[in-house]
């Protein structure tokens, strides 16, 4: 039986020992044919490398590339081991910088780059669409999603996918029982689990009987964690019914442990798409062809490429276009990732770009530090290098040797940093979660060592070793042997390295300044969010939220329930006033619509809220002119509007807005005229630190089944109010989940966000400051040690100690100051990126721009002054005697 060696063994042999002859290869192949063990083959490989061993290489004055590298590595390793202090000083900053970057990358990787939690995940693709020429489109989720008819067309038309499943954004429903609770789930197509190859751990899951049939009873598949938490892992649950939003729903199965959907945010149950109308009685869009609400995930058949899927689905999409004249659809087919939504991905990528830049800057400072160390060492190693050069080692060879040392330092730093990242990751993540606002849902994140992270770490090792090693290596190898022979060690090549050291310190100072100013701005913003006055009274107000849709209430029932609840609440001791609102002040999410003053003008986006007449008195936002709504204005569709002062100024500058009309769009070619009846003071109602974006209030429609908030202003303390509200609600509707939270919690969301950002940037700049300080200290210490003799002479000639110190400091700090100035300019440009999270702090805030550089300068002076203490011990005569 003829079997040649596998190609990679041949390739390895050729690379390791190019001298390997054909007959040797033949012998190895012969043994391989006879069934030699892999260990034996490996031994042949190792011995082939050994044959280019250092001893023989030097004897022949050549050697293979690999054997030279082995020799260089050995040399570098010995050098580092002989100077443990230097090794630590060089490896530690790299470890810190790389650790930060690797940890950051592995989080990013887990969120955005990892395939979804499904067997054979690399076959999965997500499908989204972009379309033009469509007049009417409702969106529940994102515009790029699909409607059921569109989904079915694609699913039935594809041959390149073995299956195409649909799932929705995430829903909150009420799980009834003794203690009702809200749970999150997704609606999915019947083939969802099949396409993902997820086999329920219990029960049949969705089958033709429980899902596809027209008369199929409502059914859900529970997540393993919900099954454990809410049903005590009861194996008899399958086939029984549970109350979801007040309706009996059959349990069709339990998903395997650890599976909570394929998005980063994990869910607790899965229900068929057809249950949409049951869960949202007042919004029927299950089969509506013009509603975007489904994300699609499909599995490629074996041997089909993404490009083929794209081409084929593109043809199927033309069929959709034919049904709607004028429409053109473009499909977006991508490998499935945990973060599948293009919008969400764009947001994350923007965030990553900013954070990545900051992390990269810290690594840059670390590199500058190590580069400076290497420059200093290069100067100290002049003798060794001179000897090698005079023995005939070429400059290229010498540079390679020095670069190998850098690579070893970077490699050690990467390994230490990756371990650091791995150990600190859980802690780091926990810290972020604890700082983050409570409303963040459960996330699936298994950030560990995987091929992405390893590839990233290897790439970063290469780049950093080049970044800090190349210049010093070039510098060290450009040695003037003549000058050395003249024994003028102090003078040789000093001017050039001095300049280099200076610019490295300058770069460090500049980068550090950028980071510190950014951190100062963000800390100021965090302080602002903690202390600000939003312009409305948030203390003493409880937000009561509930969703009567979960009881299956129709409009009339919902309105009646709300009225009874309000009446009962009003009777509570301490309650002063109660208002209804579609959105509470500073709550997350936007409510926007478009308006214009008259026909022919362009439509403008405007924030809006629908509120009851008492709203402004509850949140204590004064009505500047006009009046609030009347009770009757809430009876029918909105005809009146109240605008903020900023809005009035924007639409009717210099005029009185009362009595004017604003036209609000209702559909593609429908609008309604609204009469301005009141003007309220500007307040930060929608976003922190924003009072100028146009905003208007519509009367809350009395008869609506929509979820709505009650704002209860009470003199009693919040806990007492919450208790009474819950008791009353339980009394009125036992199965309703009512949450009561202080209005101030809405501010906590912004504060939490701000705290996380300020925390991260603050720690980053602290690390940067520390490294820059160490760098400056190191350089000054080096300069002092090299110039002791000169300083001694100066002092003999009558210079005072203070003069000498000032001299050294002036020379070292000049690049720091230049760096500071460059850094301030850089920060001026960079801070614009941060504007959206600065909450009103100016991106050019003078306090931050003054404080951060001053602090850095102070630290730099302290770091520079410390090593000059050594001058105190100078004994001029002794210094002069030294050679």
């Amino acid at each position: 039986v003829a079997r040649d060696l596998p190609w990679w063994i041949r390739a390895l042999l050729r690379a390791a020992a190019p001298a390997t002859s054909e007959e040797e290869l033949g012998d190895i192949a012969e043994e391989y044919t006879r069934g030699a063990s892999p260990v034996w083959i490996c031994r042949q490989l190792v011995s082939a490398v050994g044959r280019g061993s250092p001893r023989r290489a030097s004897r022949r004055n050549a050697g293979t590339f690999l054997s030279q590298t082995v020799e260089d590595l050995r040399l570098a390793f010995r050098t580092l081991r002989r100077h443990p202090g230097f090794a630590f000083a060089a490896v530690a900053p790299i470890a810190l910088g790389v650790g930060l970057n690797t940890a950051g990358f592995s989080i990013f990787d887990a969120i955005a780059l990892q395939p979804v939690a499904s067997p054979g995940a690399n076959q999965l693709v997500t499908v989204y669409q972009e379309f033009k020429g469509v007049k009417k489109r409702h969106v529940h989720g994102a515009r790029r999603m699909f409607s059921v008819p569109e989904y079915r067309t694609l699913r039935d038309g594809t041959r390149s996918l073995t299956g195409l499943a649909a799932f929705t954004r995430y829903w909150t429903v009420t799980l009834g029982g003794d203690s009702p609770r809200e749970v999150n789930g997704v609606l999915v197509s019947c083939n969802y689990f099949d396409v993902l190859r997820i086999v329920p751990s219990l029960g049949p899951g969705f089958t033709a009987a429980t899902c596809e049939a027209a008369d199929a009873p409502p059914a859900v598949v529970l997540s393993h964690s919900l099954w454990t938490a809410a049903f005590a892992s009861d194996r008899a649950i399958v086939g029984q019914t549970i109350p979801l939003n007040g309706r009996a729903v059959m349990v069709a199965g339990v998903a395997p442990e650890g599976f909570g959907g394929i998005d980063v945010a994990q869910v607790s149950f899965f229900a068929p798409l057809s249950m949409q109308e049951m869960l949202e009685p007042d919004a029927r869009y299950y089969l509506d062809p013009d509603t975007s609400w489904l994300a699609l995930v499909g599995r490629r058949t074996d041997g089909t490429t993404i490009a083929q899927v794209r081409a084929e689905l593109g043809l199927v999409a033309e069929e959709i276009d034919r049904r709607q004249p004028g429409r053109t659809t473009r499909l977006i087919v991508e490998p499935a990732r945990a973060l599948s939504m293009p919008e969400a991905r764009r947001d994350i990528f923007q965030l990553v770009a900013v954070l990545g830049a900051a992390f990269g800057l810290v690594l840059l400072i670390a590199c500058a530090n190590v580069a400076n160390l290497l420059l200093a060492r290069g100067a100290a190693r002049q003798k060794e290098i001179a000897v090698r050069l005079s023995l005939g080692v070429g400059r290229a060879r010498l540079i390679r040797q020095l670069m190998t040392e850098s690579l070893l330092i970077a490699g050690a730093g990467t390994i230490a940093g990756s371990l650091l990242a791995r150990w600190s990751f859980q802690g780091l993540f926990a810290m972020l979660v604890s700082l983050a606002p409570e409303q963040v849902p459960a996330l699936r994140l298994d950030a560990g060592l995987n091929m992405h992270v390893i590839a990233f770490a290897i790439a970063i090792t290469g780049v950093t070793s080049l970044a800090f090693g190349l210049v010093p290596a070039l510098q060290a190898s450009r040695l003037d042997i003549q000058a050395l022979l003249n024994r003028d060690t102090a003078g040789a090549g000093r001017r050039a390295t001095g300049w280099l050291r200076g610019s490295l310190i300058g770069v460090q100072a500049a980068v550090c300044t950028v980071l510190m100013i950014s951190a100062a701005l963000l800390l100021r913003a965090a302080y602002v969010t903690e202390t600000l006055d939003p312009g409305f009274a948030y203390r003493g107000v409880a937000v009561v939220s509930f969703d009567t849709r979960s009881l299956g209430y129709e409009r009339r029932q919902a309105a009646a329930f709300r009225q009874t609840l309000i009446d009962r609440l009003r009777a509570l001791p301490g309650v002063e006033s109660i208002a209804e609102a579609g959105k509470t002040p500073l709550s997350p999410g936007d409510m926007q619509t478009t308006v214009r003053r008259s026909d022919g003008e362009p439509w403008q986006e405007i924030d809006f809220n629908s509120v009851s007449p008492e709203y402004f008195s509850v949140v204590r936002v004064p009505i500047v002119r006009g009046r609030t709504f009347t009770a009757s204005e809430g009876a029918g569709p909105a005809r009146t509007v109240i605008v903020t002062e900023a809005t009035a100024r924007r639409f009717w500058p210099g005029e009185d807005a009362i009595g004017r009309t604003l036209r609000m769009a209702l559909g593609p070619d429908r609008d309604v005229a609204l009469e301005v009846v009141g003007i309220v003071a500007d307040a930060q109602m929608t976003r922190i630190a924003d009072t100028t974006t146009p905003c208007m209030y519509l009367p809350a429609e009395a008869e609506s089944a929509d979820g709505r908030y009650l704002l209860v202003r009470s003199a009693a303390d919040h806990a007492a109010v919450a208790r009474s509200v819950r008791a009353i609600a339980r009394d009125l509707a036992a199965g309703l989940v009512v949450s009561v939270a202080p209005l101030e919690q809405n501010l906590d969301l912004w504060r939490g966000l701000s705290r996380v950002i300020a925390g991260v940037s603050g720690s980053l700049s602290l690390v940067a400051l520390l490294m820059a300080a160490v760098g400056i200290y190191g350089v000054v210490a080096f300069v002092v040690s090299r110039r002791l003799r000169e300083m001694g002479i100066r002092m003999i000639l009558g210079a005072a100690l203070g003069d000498v110190r000032r001299l050294i400091l002036r020379q070292t700090l000049r690049p720091v100051v230049l760096g500071l100035i460059a850094g301030m300019a850089g920060a001026g440009a960079a801070s614009r990126v941060l504007e959206s999270v600065l909450f009103g702090v100016s991106p050019l805030d003078p306090v931050s721009f003054a404080a951060a550089p001053l602090l850095l300068l102070a630290i730099a002076i302290a770091a520079g002054l410390t090593p000059t203490r050594r001058l105190l011990t100078i004994e001029p005569a002794a210094v002069l005697r030294r050679e």
Partner: protein, 111 residues
């Protein structure tokens, strides 16, 4: 006899293996013969560097046979000890025997 005719231990082993195998002496067979008799393992590379050295000194000569499939279509390199190799081997043997004379019982017992 000149100094340069001295053979190292491993060189002697390799030459003896080539002699033993006669017309069947080629790389892999030589290596297997040595491994079987001395019970020590030997890498392909190490053997060829010794064989190359012996050929350079003129003790062996080599030629290529026909390509065979089990070697991935590569030729065997056959070896043969030349008369000068045999003479040097004999000289080494004589030198060793002379040194060993009378010591054999003692050393063997000690082992």
């Amino acid at each position: 006899m000149a100094k340069r005719d001295h053979l190292g231990e491993f060189e002697q082993i390799v030459l003896l293996a080539v002699l033993r195998l006669g017309s069947g002496a080629y790389g892999a067979a030589i290596r297997r013969e040595i491994e079987a008799r001395t019970r020590r393992s030997l890498t392909v590379g190490a053997l060829y560097s010794t064989l190359d050295r012996l050929e350079a000194k003129g003790y062996v000569r080599s030629w290529f046979g026909d390509p065979t499939p089990e070697r991935g279509g590569r030729s065997k390199r056959h070896f043969e000890v030349r008369p000068v190799g045999v003479r040097t081997l004999r000289a080494s043997h004589e030198a060793l025997t002379a040194m060993w004379e009378g010591l054999e019982p003692e050393v063997t017992r000690g082992a």
